[in-house]
């Protein structure tokens, strides 16, 4: 009987001991598992950068584009397509326009804006709004060839608006596709996620706490060829914290340097072509009947943009 009680006691003791040992073992295994793999690079990215959920993991394809500056003077009957405006083309590739009567723009409605541009701006339907600089009354558009062409002095449209938000003048340059490398030369692009990954791990552009606001595919000039062509490369535009745009080569993943004064420098470049005494070649279209001297058109287009330029540079210097 006594021996039976001792056995019961031992059973209880060993039961408690086994529960303890089993718990120790389970805890140890959990600990081992969590200690073994260091945080992967993907986890590190996800921990430090927000807004990754919206990124597309789909692998896209797009060709490289060979482009040339659009020659407005080679367009047959361009005058017939320019309504309600006086136009001067400088050096074949830069078009300046003064609208005879201002045109209202629906800035909040993208579709309506595109429709208006299509109607009143030559090639206007091929441009997409990039920035509206309200204080200076200037809207900057980038050309689209399937995708927007980022920060290219040869593919940009500046629209001057008055205080009522109506378009009064515009000036533009555009690119024309020389040869689109077809399917056999379609390039496989890195995904949106890969672009952000490289920005964080390879280029150290992104800092802890940054948020990815938007990622958009477009084209960026890869290199200007000696024959005057531009080779355009598919490029991801990554907007960070709703404020800064970064550009990542969508094929090899290298980053492009940041732009600082693109708008003012390009604006100045355009204005210089209208400066009295410049060596530009001018071709005039659809001049108003009451315009006696062609040169006065240059001044009337140039002046509002010069004012805009000064407003922008003053803001920058402040």
């Amino acid at each position: 009987m006594q021996w039976g009680q001792i056995k019961s006691l031992f059973i209880i003791c060993f039961l408690v001991l086994n529960v303890f040992l089993a718990k120790q073992l389970i805890d140890r295994e959990d600990e081992t598992l969590s200690a073994l793999p260091e945080a992967s690079k993907e986890e590190e990215l996800e921990l430090n950068i927000s807004g990754l959920d919206q990124l597309n993991q789909e692998t896209l394809e797009a060709p490289l584009l060979y482009t040339n500056s659009y020659n407005f003077n080679e367009v047959e009957n361009i005058a017939g397509q320019l309504t309600n405006q006086e136009v001067v083309v400088a050096n074949d590739t830069t078009l300046f326009s003064r609208l005879k009567s201002p045109v209202a723009l629906a800035l909040d409605d993208t579709e309506a804006l595109t429709a208006t541009l299509n109607q009143h701006v030559y090639l206007g339907g091929n441009f997409k709004q990039y920035r509206y600089l309200e204080e200076a009354g200037l809207i900057v558009f980038f050309q689209r060839i399937n995708y927007p062409i980022f920060y290219n002095t040869q593919a940009v449209l500046f629209v001057k608006v008055n205080d009522a938000g109506e378009m009064t003048h515009y000036m533009m340059r555009a690119l024309d596709v020389v040869e689109e490398e077809q399917e056999e030369n379609e390039q496989t692009l890195i995904t949106e996620y890969d672009a952000v990954y490289r920005m964080y791990h390879n280029s150290n552009i992104l800092k802890t706490g940054d948020e990815i606001s938007e990622v958009e595919l477009g084209y960026h000039n890869l290199v200007s060829l000696p024959n005057g062509e531009q080779l355009m490369n598919p490029t991801w535009q990554v907007t960070v914290n709703d404020t800064v745009d970064y550009f990542i080569n969508a094929i090899e993943g290298h980053d492009y340097p940041q732009y600082t004064n693109f708008i003012t420098e390009t604006l100045n470049d355009f204005i210089t072509l209208l400066t009295p005494g410049s060596s530009s070649d001018y071709t005039y279209y659809t001049l108003a009947e009451d315009r006696v001297e062609e040169d006065t058109l240059l001044t009337s287009i140039r002046q509002p943009f010069v004012t805009t330029y000064h407003q922008l540079t003053e803001v920058e210097s402040e």
């Binding site: 039976g4 056995k7 019961s8 031992f10 059973i11 060993f14 039961l15 001991l17 086994n18 040992l21 089993a22 120790q24 073992l25 140890r28 295994e29 081992t32 200690a35 073994l36 490289l64 060979y66 390879n202 890869l222 290199v223 200007s224 060829l225 000696p226 062509e229 080779l231 490369n233 080569n249 094929i251 090899e252 993943g253 290298h254 980053d255 492009y256 340097p257």
Partner: protein
């Protein structure tokens, strides 16, 4: 009563056994953890995008020249297909009857009908086994060569292995030499418009061949960067303990307490200081050294290129303190000598392991745009004039090659590299860009100036 006691005994035995098992499991848990850590460190690293190359893959001639008394100038092969055919015909040649002779005067240059195959660097005679069919038992004398000469109708010799800097020449015979030479000649004769060469006599009295017509173009290439982590996994025995720091110059230094790897964005420079001193008693022959270094690079797929780029052996240098093997990047078998950080793999191999390892971090990919004619490159005649002029007075000229140089394209915002044809002159310190006279240098070629 008895059955209950039996059951209790059974349960007790079961509990005691299980407690022993659990205790043992807990006891042995820690060593398992350590083993896993060690396994993590032993990463069998390979470079992404790299390939293995055989010894014969990295030994390709720079020039293949045919001398024919009926032709005004020496000629070379133009079409890639014929170059391949010629190389295959060379490989199929069976050599025997090797010996060594002394050649005080390069009399072979007077032979009117001959073929010359020249290489970038002096090669040990052991590589003859890689270039031709030679029986394993055949005696091949030791020595170096940078030029193979095939003599047509010579009384004594058929094939010479000449080193321009040496009087000692290895000679050999080939089976069915006459038929094989006829095949070589046939390949050259089939070329309707062969490359024509001008001949320049180098410092050692050797003949240097300069292409009369320049057909190489400037080309742009996209590139990718190799992973630094792959090199860390490869070169450090415990990658997990490697720490990094930035230098004042903007480079990154990786160290594990002993070994060091400096990364400057263009290449890596690894050093294992504990392996600096060279054990003289265990010195390798140049051929063995080449073999070991080639195996080392192949093990981690260290030849990182995409065709038509490639790597060629460009030097086996042994001094009292160093064993060094270098490989140079090529484009369509033409060497790209500059910029060395981007185009040269260098291994200093001491005591059966790596002492120093330099490797580019940039790998060229596809061409972007079309090739552009290069207008400001001097013609072969102009180059000979420059070499005979004041810039090269008293300077050793061992070879002149129209190679390439690789530079970041200035207006590409870091997106593409430009491959530009450039003349190189081989002097005492290897190949360096041709130094142009001052007035020509002003024409945009100033960047090509400077010596090694």
């Amino acid at each position: 009563m008895m059955p209950i006691e039996h059951i209790k005994s059974f349960i007790l035995i079961l509990l005691i056994t299980s407690s022993l098992v659990l205790t043992f499991a807990l006891w042995s848990d820690q060593p398992n953890y350590q083993m896993q850590t060690e396994q993590e460190d032993l990463i069998d690293a390979e470079l992404d995008g790299g390939v293995r190359l055989s010894r014969s893959d990295v030994i390709k001639p720079v020039e293949m020249i045919r001398h024919d008394e009926r032709l005004e100038t020496p000629v070379g092969l133009k079409s890639d297909e014929r170059v391949t055919r010629f190389n295959e015909a060379l490989k199929n040649l069976s050599l025997y009857n090797f010996s060594r002779i002394t050649m005080n005067d390069p009399w072979y240059q007077e032979e009117p009908n001959r073929l010359e195959v020249t290489f970038q660097t002096a090669l040990p005679s052991g590589v003859i086994m890689d270039l031709f069919k030679v029986d394993a038992e055949t005696y091949v004398p030791s020595g170096d060569f940078n030029r193979i000469v095939f003599l047509e109708g010579h009384d004594l010799y058929q094939i010479l292995f000449v080193n321009d800097g040496d009087d000692e020449v290895i000679v050999a015979s080939a089976q069915n030499f006459t038929q094989n030479f006829a095949l070589f000649t046939q390949i050259f004769n089939a070329e309707e418009e062969p490359y024509r060469y001008l001949t320049f006599e180098g410092t050692r009295g050797s003949l240097i061949y300069l292409p009369e017509t320049l057909t190489k173009q400037t080309r742009l290439f996209a590139y990718t960067e190799l992973s630094q982590d792959d090199f860390i996994n490869l070169l450090f025995s415990k990658p997990s303990i490697v720490r990094s720091a930035y230098t004042y110059g903007g480079d990154t230094n990786y160290i594990d307490g002993i070994r060091e790897m400096v990364v400057d964005g263009r290449g890596i420079k690894f050093t294992d200081p504990t392996n600096e001193s060279l054990d003289q008693s265990a010195r390798r022959s140049p051929n063995q050294l080449f073999d070991e270094v080639q195996s080392f690079i192949n093990t981690h797929l260290g030849f990182t290129f995409k065709e038509p780029f490639g790597y060629q052996l460009s030097g086996i240098n042994q001094t009292a303190t160093s064993n060094e093997v270098t490989y140079t990047l090529t484009y369509q078998d033409t060497p790209i000598f500059y910029d060395r950080d981007l185009t040269e793999i260098m291994v200093r191999w001491h005591n059966d392991s790596v002492y120093q390892y330099y490797h580019p971090l940039i790998m060229m990919l596809d061409q972007r745009g079309i090739g552009q004619e290069t207008s400001n490159i001097p013609s072969a005649e102009a180059v000979m004039e420059i070499l005979n002029g004041p810039n090269y007075q008293g300077t050793a000229i061992y070879d002149v090659v129209l190679g390439y140089q690789l530079t970041e394209q200035s207006d590409s915002q870091g997106q593409v590299y430009a491959l530009t044809p450039t003349w190189y002159v081989k002097g005492v310190y290897g190949y360096s860009p041709l130094v142009l006279p001052l007035e020509e240098a002003k024409g945009g070629m100033a960047h090509a100036m400077g010596s090694n």
